[in-house]
Amino acid sequence: MTNPLVTFRNVEKRFGDFVAVRDMTLDIHEGEFLAIMGSSGCGKTTTLRMLAGLESPTAGEIRIGGRLMNDVRPHERDTPLVWQSLALFPFLSARENVEFGLKMRGVAAAERKHRALDWLDRMQIAEFAERNVATLSGGQKQRVALARSLVMEPQMLLLDEPLSALDANLVIRMQGVLTRLQKELGITFVYVTHSQSEAFAMADRVVIMSQGDIAQTGAPRDIYRAPANRFVAEFVGRNNILTGTVTTTNTGGTEIATPQGNFTAQTPTPPPQTGQQVSFTVSADLVSLSGDAPGTVNQARATLISEEFIGSVVTLFLEGPEGQEYKVQMQERALTGFDLTPGTDFWLSWEPGNANILEAG
């Protein structure tokens, strides 16, 4: 593998007593679509702002293309950012907005115009080039903002929740636009979002942050199927989390005794100690539902509390002994034949291979 485009080495950012980013070490590779995800205040936006030079780290090193960037000022960098508020200049037309960065670099007027119109055309908004940006719709503004950054032909594009102001349908369309652009241009995208669906739909790799720390880094599928710790398991959502004591462990599986019964999970590396307290997760869509005991290894009894119906997919919320919460996600058509009155008892079961033990903590 080639050298990473961006390296964070033990980077810390404090604002007074508040630690926004703590001891962050992260590589960002050339041409990858990286999403940084977390709830508000987790440090994801601060991380992005440090990449753009709008904040400088209080400790550690940030390098881009090998060059130490800690104290390089924003206007001396090649790190255009697409802002959450878009930050288009309201006193300029769409074309003038796109030309702004080129003008700052001293590109001649004729070439500037040509390149700006080229990008507006590529974003399919060439007809609005001379319109003031205030008169454009949300989706059109979004495209102007993207064009304004991409016309600079950067190695890396930074995006700070750019889709959060759009309505749901437009978000899906813009996700398509973004992923296609990223593949076509072959440049690195660093995309900050609080939305799991945006991150998982677009990114090659996802970084999940919590209170200034990286909680997990990995491909969306790996994070979804095998959350590393409790925070990620809860954040990613629709996960069942059970806690108990390890009774036996070997390469074939680990037995865990819980108040809800005895279960078998995949043995992680390194394997846990016998007698250790562990938690494991099972994705809600990998749990089967039945009226009678299925007689398999991992089975649990639970009472239906409520259901959440969103089109073809239904999520059932159930409760087991000791108040254990379960979530089961199923196709709506697979539920015909079940009595879904709240209070009905069911049996839940899952494959041992789908149960993943979390890191301690």
Binding site: A52, L54, R73, P74, H75, T79, P80, L81, W83, S85, A87, F89, P90, F91, L92, S93, A94, F100, G101, M104, R105, E130, R131, N132, A134, T135, R148, M152
Partner: protein, 285 residues
């Protein structure tokens, strides 16, 4: 489909006092002043008439136009100086100061308005006089004494006393409302820190700044105190000309001509400035 317009008695009742006030104390006097400008003075007594003699006498005289252009020039100059001198302070208050400090600063800037402008003007005597504070200090480093009272400089100092705090307040409030993300966005696109002032801050502040400059101009253009007491009416400004005209031979009709010319000028300047301030950017619909 709009509902037929009907007389809204409720709204009218509440508007009536201000309408009456304006009619009695603004429209009425202005019309009266226009009428007076056609009156004639015979034996030091104003007599009703409809003659153009006052207009002819004033508008064909060199001293009127000298005074007119001088007033226009010195008011524009002091408005420009006020805007320029105010800018660094307002910029620092808007972008560098904490919200708390900014609140205090705006409060402190209001304090000068607590005392009479006349009193503040006279206090400049102590500072600007031949043997005043400023010349004494300059004397220590071997400079001066300079004549500062009864000069154009004195007039401008007086105008600034009136307009500078206002200019700082209006500029600060205008720039404090700027979305800081836009400045960061400009920096992100390669704009140098100082260049953001005229690439981003000034375009975004256009309305507020034009209104501030307009206020500075109007206050200076119509001011009598500064040019009279600090400028020593060396070159009479229009307000001084009005005073002189009324004093010399009870020429109220000719003074009315000067006043009407001043009002027409202010209307033109204010109208142009407001139109500029609220002009929509190109490509708006």
């Amino acid at each position: 489909m709009s509902a037929p317009r009907r007389l809204n008695l409720y709204a009218l009742t509440w508007r009536l006092p201000i309408i009456l006030w304006q009619l009695m104390f603004f429209v009425g006097p202005v019309l009266f002043m226009v009428a007076i400008s056609f009156f004639v003075v015979r034996n030091y007594r104003m007599t009703e008439a409809f003659e153009f003699v006052n207009w002819e006498k004033m508008l064909t005289r060199g001293y009127f136009w000298d005074s007119y252009w001088y007033t226009l020039f010195i008011a524009s100059l002091s408005a420009s100086v006020a805007m320029l001198v105010a800018f660094p302070a307002a910029w620092a208050l808007a972008f560098r100061a904490s919200d708390n400090l900014r609140r205090w600063a705006v409060f402190l800037l209001v304090i000068p308005f607590f005392t009479s402008y006349l009193v503040r003007t006279f206090s400049w005597y102590v500072i600007l006089a031949e043997s005043g504070v400023l010349n004494a200090m300059l004397g220590y480093i071997g400079l001066g004494p300079f004549k500062m009272l009864n000069t154009h400089f004195g007039t401008v100092v007086g105008y600034l006393t009136l307009t500078l705090p206002l200019a700082v307040i209006l500029q600060t409030v205008t720039m404090a409302n700027i979305d800081k993300t836009l400045i960061e966005a400009a920096r992100n696109l390669g704009c140098k820190p100082l260049a953001t002032i005229w690439r981003v801050v000034l375009p975004l502040s256009r309305t507020g700044f034009i209104v501030a400059a307009l206020f500075c101009f109007i206050l200076a253009f119509g001011d009598f105190v500064a040019p009279f007491y600090l400028g020593g009416s060396q070159e009479p400004t229009l307000p001084i000309l009005i005073l002189d005209t009324t004093k010399s031979g009870q020429q109220w009709p000719r003074a009315a001509v000067v006043a009407i010319m001043m009002m027409l000028t202010l209307f033109t300047v204010a109208f142009t400035a407001i139109a500029l301030a609220y002009r929509k950017p190109a490509g708006s619909r």
